[in-house]
Symmetry: C2
Subunit: 372 residues, 2 copies
């Protein structure tokens, strides 16, 4: 298959549906976050689950990021192959086959991983021992997300002690991601939810210290709460990832002034074509369930705030036509802002990067479909 | 990236999350549909938007299918490259770049396409003329779906007349897909909805005949209604596609006896791993929004009907643990039935085909990500 665009092409000639980056907005987001973490004095390790791109990971590291995060061994394999040398897998890697791949990858790049279970620690240590390496391991805390992670206090302490004693593992610190706070709309609400978690993490760090376990790194955070963890003096590393693109959902978060959308800007779009225009009630576009993720709602139409995208099917979507909307003709091309960037990116093989109406770059989605 | 399995491997060693085909069930579905359409005396042109696989298209054609359907030019390009020679694009192809690709492809394989707009007919004819070919064109009727298609009666007649008069186009017939009837749960409801549409199509065919326009083919139908269009004497070709896998949603359709799930069987699964088991309330599995489509509801857990999969996130899902469910331990692997097969398949690069607990084949998802 060929990409939907060539470098130098005008935007209007890009094939549809295509995944578009507005480079000016994207770079502005990268520069802003880089400056902010420098001011806060914490490390940035952006989550690459958002973009799955070696090109974007390199752009982040060129601006000071210490490395990136991934969720899957195969994502880390794909990014390492394309030159990314420092990767934290913010997830549990379970089972002989996956663990062996993790350990093999650790010989090529600086890899660390999370654990939340005693059996998994034994499995990782055995694999590291067979491969004759030391593997860096974070203990993941469940800080209210109700998903992976050991509970704060004694469960985390027990796992950390086990890691410290495992001959082929290095205790790298704590992973504590407060997922459920990311999209609380009120600024004060996100700050308060983050403070509660920071206190729980700090208590656990002290508990470790009492047992003479030093905690080199506390890592976590996201695009909804980075400024709170960043100024907490508890977290040493921030994992925000979505700031590069800004999902429609994140754009609804209120800032400190109670207003929305003033800090990071949306920079990721789906370019789509009006492929059928037989009705006065709707226009049919060529982007549906196979090119946009809908789990966080419908996409917005750029430049036509009155327009509603509705009834997505596999390869189609409808734009409701009213007196409040623009008129749409067969062959028109329009930009959509996806509700949820991460699973939208995963549907595409290429980013088409635009500046001033022209294609400046075409980047692979390096780790698209890296599920394992 | 490497596939999650090798031929000969035991199922339990397949990496997760993986897209699995149960070959016995899959072949039974193919054989059953082949026999049914033969008995009905209609052609089968299964929709390849479901499976996007040249291997599966070949298996269907080996059992008598006259060709396949696709939704996108790039899907047709991918399948034609892998040897599929007869493809109907059941969709509008709009814009110079796409139309030129369509015409180029027509030199390599037998390609037909749908239209619902006068301007598009001019565009297709001009491209076919430039390429010095005759292009086969179906006029798509909107039979109540409220998406693409011209309205029955005069609008369809006008477009068909225009196609007939276009020097480089051949009028191939009518496309009439009754999407909104496919998942009416009651058998009588689906039959009645299909009858209404068959009558409208028949009237339009007669209207064409009055103007001396012969309609060689009436094509449409789906897995929910194939038996009704198949016995209608109006449709000459059925496009059912989902019968090969059977979405959880289609399995809820009632058959003629008022019971469900007795004809075609589910044959497509997601194999997933319990990657975190720190809670007594849930187990965390490694398949979420990036490996399963959720637009038609949550997946079902095979062999544990009491179990609920809930709260999917990008790379995780939760299985609710109750007294009614099995117990789950770290590292357990389980099978899920996806709610909607087509967009689930599009998330994966490979099918892992299983028989009697072993991997018999690994097939590419040939046209995964073929969006254009």
């Amino acid at each position: 298959m060929e990409p939907p665009a060539e470098i130098g092409m005008e935007l209007k000639d890009v094939d549809t549906p295509a995944l578009i980056i507005d480079l000016d907005r994207f770079e502005s987001n990268l520069n802003l976050m880089s400056k902010q973490v420098e001011d806060l004095g914490v490390n940035l390790r952006p989550h690459a689950k958002t973009h799955k791109s070696a090109d974007i990971a390199k752009a982040q590291m060129a601006r000071g990021a210490v490395g990136v995060c991934c969720q899957k061994v195969s994502e880390a394999e794909a990014l390492a192959t394309d030159g990314i040398q420092n990767i934290l897998i913010t997830n549990q890697v379970v089972g002989r086959h996956k663990v062996d791949r993790l350990v093999r990858l650790s010989k090529k790049a600086e890899i660390s991983v999370c654990v939340d279970h005693s059996e998994n620690i034994l499995e990782l240590n055995a694999a590291a021992s067979r491969a004759n390496i030391d593997l860096a391991v974070f203990v993941e805390m469940d800080v209210g997300g109700g998903r992976c992670g050991a509970f704060p206090g004694k469960p985390v302490l027990d796992l950390a002690s086990q890691v410290v004693q495992a001959p082929c593992l290095k205790f790298a610190g704590l992973q504590a991601y407060n997922g459920q706070a990311q999209e609380l709309r009120s600024y004060a609400g996100r700050r308060q939810a983050t403070e509660v978690v920071c206190n729980a993490v700090e208590e656990t760090v002290l508990l470790l210290k009492e047992r003479n376990i030093q905690c080199p790194t506390v890592t976590g955070s996201g695009t909804g709460t980075w400024e709170f963890e960043g100024s907490s003096k508890v977290y040493t590393e921030l994992q925000a990832g979505s700031y590069v693109f800004m999902d429609a959902s994140y754009l609804r978060n209120e800032n400190i002034d109670g207003k929305v959308g003033r800090v990071f800007q949306s920079s990721l779009y789906i370019y789509t074509l009006v492929m059928s225009a037989t009705s006065h009630e709707y226009a049919v576009v060529d982007a549906g369930l196979k090119s946009i993720a809908f789990d966080q709602g419908m996409p917005a139409v750029v430049g036509d705030l009155g327009a509603n995208y509705y009834e997505p099917s596999d390869e189609h979507g409808l734009i409701k036509l009213t007196e409040a909307t623009r008129s749409y003709s067969l062959g028109d091309k329009i930009m959509l802002i996806p509700g949820h960037c991460d699973p939208t990116v995963n549907l595409h093989n290429w980013y088409v990067c635009i500046r001033q109406g022209r294609v400046e770059q075409v980047w692979d989605v390096t780790a698209r479909g890296a599920l394992y």
